[in-house]
Assembly symmetry: D2
């Protein structure tokens, strides 16, 4: 493990037993439930649901969502040709309107070409947190969720680095299916799938540059984190663009697997009036959207090509 | 019209054109849309949904829900044998966790016998509102929704009149499908259906004792109403009990029709330990749950009997 | 201790060390801090405040507030002439707009005579909670706060027992100064003061009829409690009326002391138009507002009389 | 006026009469009130406050805060040497924890040198808004507020353009004192003061590049704006750094004047452990923090120098 500030003993949030809580919509009302050992969802009111057929809501309700730009060595190597992208982590934000549940539709406007996936895990804050050390930060974590930090890279050329339009559009944050405690995150493997084929893979303990405790302590130097706030922990190499009809999934072993289906929508009405930065297909956009294939394992590229051919 | 403080000219919220906004879950994310003239739901992002097949969320997100006990002359006559139940309106509350969307499941615990329907309309507050007159109160209304103020009458004997357990359990407030502006409420008719048969009916203009403007001005004498807060406006005669499998609907002409299906769940675990007031089948419970049949039109009773026979 | 369902070992929320968190407004922004051993408030950002001079906000942000009618034997004896008011606890609600912070103004409208104090402690919910047993309920408690459940008894004759107007008006729930963990509630004493003189006093362990674990398990039989929700645990004997200028405080040893000053405001404008139930001075109102002096210790009555004389 | 998409007739939100609503804390509870013609704050409950001596809360409660990088020609000229910074506006975000009320403390950590003011006006969203045209966008505006978009420029070198740490720290968004309707924004003048001396000034109608209707329509192409959301509209030239003890104000004629006092706090504890990007005094940081004096009117620079000398 090469992440900053390793811990002395395993923090409580990563000690068993594993508990997974999910939130579902059953006919008009939201309900919380706990996954049982047989893969069924036991609602708190006693009803037992087939977890496969349930209608999922995001298991979080954050007042803010903060995302690490890069915290995986393979991603840093792909984009920067070095194991560490910057001396210290850097961040951007996503609005809460971007939240999406498991099995959601990930919207791709008709005038956009590059909707990139980024498989990640999310950290959910359990208590008000400001001015803590990394050691103390572990006590401020409610649990972890698989997540997809989707991005409309066609807007790479605007917003001067804030990526509001790239990362902030509605539906661009599938998260779930549940929130999990009691799993040692650093022993888990992250995998992103397109149409069932692996297109990203990383062992979290081996690749993580900055752990969640470090990131929380860093952000909370100046910003108060509130219960329910969400931090997205970055993606490994091979973030690439997907098209309508394709199913994207992020699995974190031990946590679960969240999926979304890319869905076409019309271009916005204001776009036809010339309002705002138009999606562009510039070299910089393509650089990020298409990535650096020479620094990425062949099997990810082969799988993505295969998945895309199957969709056509 | 015999409601208090009639208005000089039709308030803006009741003047056309009619606009109906609905909130739906599409694959993990919530979206707002507007109903078009052909009965389709046009989401703001341009997608058009079959309104019939959509998954509905409550179109409101209140910080509080206040309900009038009785504001229909037929209900007052049924329960009190007079056209006006009290000199002035009286109120109780429901927690926000009771909210349910159109086509929801209305939960009936296994140890309860009497889950009564009450077809109503809801008023949604548009702006912070305190110390207003009835005339001013019209400007604080965002719109109106059909609603069902369901009640577990088995708990009638507890809570000393607050009805927390009678009216406050999860799912006991189906509301929607949308929120509507631009309709003259006092020209509309309320109808409640069980399995498609009319079991309550009232012309709102003829039966209303206290209009929403009066009720808002009354409550806001001492309590600040916030944007999104919901007021339930009472039910006409013939609130009766329904059973699992039965479909209950409230239609307000001009506004729409909200439905819910009564669904059985287990008795709570704490009940088995003897915690809390047990559901009872006392004379007082039966008095309210079963109502006063002699003061109710025969067709409602006939229809309910027919609906119940069909379910068995 | 005679409360229901006593526990096997002291629940974690009542085990030390004691931690008290307060929320204050410093010049336009809200900040959380922790009380240190010297009675100073250390804000999370490192600033140290004189706790005495701080501007307090309520330390809670609930989606619902539920209150026990009676859970102290002395209150039951005073009002019912028996040690237990009912077989099982009963509840009512207060809207969140009633919240008030430490050192708040408790508003008394000009047309009301009887604003009664009720010293209580509040329980704050830490996690989503539904269908739990009393044993499990302890894990759903974030902490405890002193509170004053004030009531405008002039509205006793309306609302048919829900007490919406009695208990729900703006400012009628002073709570704080902080939220406390790590204190054994059942070894504490509750005291209410008017102008510094004790007017209510009860040893919580000796007088409590139903503990918070029982009450949570009871409510959560049918109603989902959410993180931040507040439960008010009832008051001991000698709830009485106070007047503008008087300072009311509730102290729970180990938790702290919350205060409020009764402050006169005008009668609402709608009242002048005859809207709504007018405050009344009926026998029932006086029965509750003035209480049963013969069943209350003399020192409370003497102190209250002395406090009132000093204000005139 | 050179802002995009001018309107045909004055939008309702800019037509009189002027209404200003403020939110204040009075002894532990929040209250809304309306400013009267004599400069007093009339609370909704009838109390009248001296507006000068009140304790202000932010008059907004947004789920997201989006800010335009540059929308004033003088700022574009200062930083880019041209009248228009980019073809279309670009945006970043601030978390809601950055909100501050009128007369707040603006926190400057001990390890930071450059806390820059930016006088702005904010637009508050009144209704759910997605996929609208600029013409339609006017109907989605609740009102306008003076605001200060403060920034810790010491963090300019990190976060790759998102400015999370520059703009997102606690207290960096003083806003208020009220929210105003009924004023023609394009006839107003923005002025920023340090210790009472003007350091920024711009006629909004003459300098605005993109109006709020354009900006709303632009953002709402892909992101749903919710009631209460806040958009900050950019600052004119001469954003500069201020020091502890200095009072910063932004006045928008017709809207009001919001102030904050720069207040020193300790460096965060995690900084001492080497966690996170340290504040830097790099050429890029100084470039932004100190600005381009040669493209700024002398009187602003003279006034700032004078104000700073008075503080020492």
């Amino acid at each position: 493990m090469n992440f900053e500030f390793s811990f002395k003993e395993l923090p409580a949030v990563m000690c068993g037993p594993r508990v997974e809580r999910r939130r579902v919509l059953v006919g008009g009302s939201a309900f919380w439930g706990t996954m049982d050992d047989d893969g069924r969802l036991r609602l708190d009111d006693g009803r037992v649901l087939d977890a496969e057929g349930a209608t999922y809501l995001p298991p979080v309700n954050p007042s803010k969502i903060i995302a690490v730009h890069i915290s995986y060595s393979s991603r840093s190597f792909e984009t920067r040709n070095k194991a560490r992208p910057t001396e210290t982590p850097t961040y951007f934000t996503k609005p809460a309107t971007a939240l999406n549940g498991h099995k959601g539709q990930i919207l791709k406007p008709a005038d956009c070409k590059y909707l990139n996936y980024e498989g990640e895990y999310a950290v959910v804050i359990s208590r008000t947190c400001r001015n803590v050390t990394p050691d103390e930060a572990w006590d401020c974590i409610e649990g972890f969720c698989p997540a997809l930090d989707m991005g409309l890279q066609d807007f790479r050329d605007t917003d001067q680095g804030s990526m509001l339009r790239v990362k902030g559009a509605d539906t661009l944050l599938p998260i779930g299916p549940g929130i999990v405690r009691g799993v040692n995150l650093f022993e888990q493997t992250l995998r992103t799938y397109v149409n069932g084929l692996v297109v990203q893979e990383a062992h979290i303990g081996e690749e993580t540059i900055w752990g969640p405790h470090y990131v929380i302590a860093d952000i909370a130097r100046h910003i108060t984190l509130l219960p329910g706030d969400v931090i997205l922990m970055g993606t490994p190499c091979h973030s690439r663009s997907v098209d309508p009809g394709q199913v994207v999934e992020c699995e974190i072993t031990g946590l679960g697997r969240v999926s979304g289906t890319v869905t076409a929508i019309d271009a916005p009405r204001a776009a036809a009036l010339g309002v705002g930065h138009a999606p562009t297909d510039s070299p910089e956009v393509r650089r990020v959207a298409l990535g650096f294939d020479e620094r990425v394992p062949d099997r990810f590229k082969d799988n993505l090509r295969q998945a895309k051919e199957a969709t056509r």
